[in-house]
C-alpha cells in the first residue's frame, strides 16, 4: 500500500513537472496550410506598397529639386544683330560682359556666369545635327543668372534695364517650365497617393476577407469560446492578433 502511494506521488510529481515544462499553447495557432495564401497576398501587397512609397518619395524629391533649380535661376540670351555678324562678333562678347555687370549689380542676383559658346552650339544640335558649324556663324551668348535663395527677379524689368543699355536680350525665368513641372509632378504624386490608397484598401479588404474566412473555418473553436463565456472582444482580439502577426511576418519577409 505504501509503495503504491509512493508510486502515485511520483507520477503526480512527474505530471506536474511535465505540465510546467509545457508552454501554454496558442488558442488560435498559425495554420500554415490555410494561412499561406493570405500570407502571400500580404507579402505582395506590402511589396507593392513599398515600391509605391519609394516611387512617391523619390518623385517628390526630384520635383522639389527641379523646382528649386528653376526657381533660383534665369537664362539671358544676348542675340547677335545683323551688324554684329561676322567681323563684328567681338562686339557681342562686349555686350555680354556689360550685361553681366548690369545684372550682377541687382540685389536678388548672386552670380552671373557667361556660358561658353559650346552651350549655344549644343542648343542648335537638334536642328543642325553633329556637322561642324562654320566659325563665322552668328551665335547667341547665354548668361546663367543665379539668384539669392528665396529671392526673385522680374524678367521684364531686367530686360528693360538691358534694353536701356542698348543690349537686346531675351530673359527666360523658366516660369513656363516651372508650371509644367509642377503640374506633372502634382499629377504623378496624386497617382502615387491613389495607388498607395488602393493598396491599403486592398490590404484591409484582404484582412477582412481572411478574418471572415477564419471565423468560418474556426467556427467550432468560436462556438467553444462562446460556450465557455468568452466575450466577443476576446475572440476578436484572438483573430486580429493572428492576422496582424501574418501582416508583420509579410513585412518582415520584405
Amino acid at each position: 500500500m505504501v509503495s503504491k502511494l509512493t508510486d502515485m506521488s511520483k507520477q503526480h510529481a512527474e505530471l506536474t513537472a511535465n505540465t510546467q515544462a509545457m508552454k501554454t499553447q496558442p488558442i488560435l495557432p498559425y495554420d500554415k496550410k490555410n494561412d499561406r495564401p493570405l500570407f502571400m497576398v500580404l507579402v505582395i501587397l506590402a511589396f507593392l506598397a513599398t515600391l509605391t512609397l519609394l516611387a512617391t518619395a523619390s518623385g517628390y524629391r526630384a520635383a522639389v529639386g527641379w523646382e528649386n533649380n528653376l526657381q533660383g535661376r534665369l537664362t539671358v540670351q544676348i542675340k547677335p544683330s545683323a551688324t554684329l555678324a561676322g567681323k563684328t562678333a567681338d562686339k557681342i562678347d562686349d555686350k555680354a560682359e556689360r550685361a553681366k555687370t548690369i545684372l550682377a549689380e541687382l540685389a536678388p542676383v548672386n552670380l552671373v556666369t557667361i556660358l561658353p559658346s559650346e552651350h549655344s552650339k549644343a542648343l542648335l544640335k537638334p536642328w543642325l545635327g553633329d556637322a561642324p558649324l562654320p566659325d563665322d556663324l552668328p551665335l547667341p551668348i547665354l548668361l546663367d543668372v543665379q539668384l539669392n535663395p528665396g529671392q526673385t527677379l522680374d524678367a521684364k524689368q531686367a530686360a528693360l534695364l538691358l534694353s536701356d543699355a542698348g543690349i537686346r536680350a531675351d530673359i527666360d525665368d523658366h516660369s513656363q517650365w516651372n508650371k509644367e513641372i509642377k503640374r506633372t509632378t502634382s499629377a504623378a504624386l496624386l497617382l502615387s497617393y491613389l495607388a498607395l490608397g488602393l493598396i491599403i484598401i486592398a490590404s484591409i479588404a484582404a484582412s477582412i476577407f481572411a478574418t471572415r474566412a477564419g471565423l468560418t473555418s474556426q467556427r467550432r473553436l468560436m462556438d467553444v469560446l462562446h460556450q465557455v463565456g468568452a466575450p466577443p472582444d476576446y475572440t476578436a482580439r484572438l483573430l486580429s492578433t493572428r492576422f496582424a502577426t501574418s501582416g508583420f511576418r509579410a513585412q518582415w519577409v520584405l
Binding site: 503504491k4 502511494l5 502515485m8 507520477q11 503526480h12 501554454t24 499553447q25 460556450q227
Partner: protein
C-alpha cells in the same frame, strides 16, 4: 468549508473545496409559459413552465425531437425564447443585455454530446480554457486543473490531444472543462450518448457527486436506465412538459 475527496481510481486525496458554489446560491431556474419557434416554423417548445431550485439535480427526458436540447439552449442563453418568461440567477433573461451574457455563461458549465473539445489543444489546455478566457494566469490555475483531471480519472492523459482519447475520456474532459470554473449551474445535453453503459453510469455518478457539492445540475437524456432513483425528472414530449416524476417511478 473544506472537504477532501478520495478519488476511486488513484486513491489520491485532493482538495475540492473550490468546487462548492456559494451557500447563498441564486442558481434557480424558472420557466413560465415559455414558447420557442424558429422563423415561420411551428413552436418547438410550447407553454413550458417549471421551477428548478438551487442545488437541485434534474433529468430532462423525452424522445428525440421532443425539445430537450432547445430547452437547455434557452437555459444557457444560447437562444432567446419567442414568448413567456425565463428567470435565471434571479433575473428575467429577456431583460439581460447581450454584453452581460458572457459573464453569466461563465457561471454555467455546459457539456454537450459532441464534447466540443479543441483538437489542437491538449486535455490540460482544453480544461484550462475557461480560466484562460477569464484572464487567469497559468501559474494560478495549474494545480486546480491537474487536481480536477485526476478527480475525473484523466490525470495520466493531461498532455494527450483529444483525437487520441476514447469516447469516455473525451466526455470526462468535457465535464472537467465545464466544472473547472466552479459553476453554479451545470448543464449536460445527452452526456452519455456516446459512451457505453458502464461509462454512462460512471459519468452519472460524477454528475451526482458534483451536485452533492452544491451545483445545480440539469441533464437531458433519453437513457432513462441511468437515472438515479432519487432524481427529479422533467418529462417533455412534442415541446410540452408532460410531467414531473421521480426516478423510482420510471419502468
Amino acid at each position: 468549508m473544506k472537504r477532501q475527496n478520495k478519488h476511486k481510481n488513484t486513491g489520491l486525496h485532493i482538495n475540492i473545496s473550490q468546487q462548492i458554489p456559494n451557500a447563498e446560491s441564486d442558481a434557480n431556474i424558472h420557466f413560465e409559459r415559455v414558447g420557442f419557434r424558429y422563423d415561420r416554423e411551428g413552436e418547438i417548445l410550447s407553454d413550458v413552465s417549471f421551477s428548478l431550485p438551487p442545488k437541485s439535480m434534474t433529468f430532462i427526458i423525452g424522445p428525440s425531437g421532443a425539445g430537450k436540447s432547445t430547452l437547455l439552449k434557452l437555459i444557457y442563453l444560447n437562444m432567446r425564447q419567442s414568448r413567456g418568461h425565463i428567470t435565471l440567477f434571479g433575473r428575467d433573461t429577456s431583460q439581460i443585455d447581450r454584453k452581460e451574457i458572457p459573464a453569466l455563461k461563465r457561471r454555467m458549465g455546459i457539456v454537450l454530446q459532441d464534447f466540443r473539445l479543441i483538437d489542437h489543444l491538449s486535455v490540460f489546455e482544453n480544461v484550462a480554457l475557461p480560466l484562460r478566457v477569464a484572464g487567469r494566469k497559468r501559474a494560478d490555475y495549474e494545480d486546480d486543473v491537474l487536481g480536477l483531471l485526476k478527480w475525473v480519472g484523466l490525470g495520466h492523459r493531461a498532455h494527450a490531444l483529444p483525437p487520441t482519447l476514447s469516447g469516455g475520456e473525451k466526455q470526462r474532459a468535457a465535464i472537467a472543462r465545464a466544472v473547472i470554473t466552479k459553476p453554479d449551474i451545470l448543464i449536460a445535453d445527452e452526456p452519455t450518448g456516446n459512451v457505453d453503459g458502464d461509462m454512462g453510469r460512471r459519468l452519472i455518478r460524477l454528475f451526482t457527486e458534483l451536485n452533492r457539492l452544491g451545483t445545480t445540475t440539469i441533464i437531458a437524456t433519453h437513457n432513462t436506465a441511468l437515472i438515479p432513483e432519487d432524481a427529479n425528472i422533467l418529462s417533455i414530449e412534442h415541446g410540452q412538459v408532460t410531467g414531473t416524476i421521480s426516478g423510482e417511478q420510471i419502468d
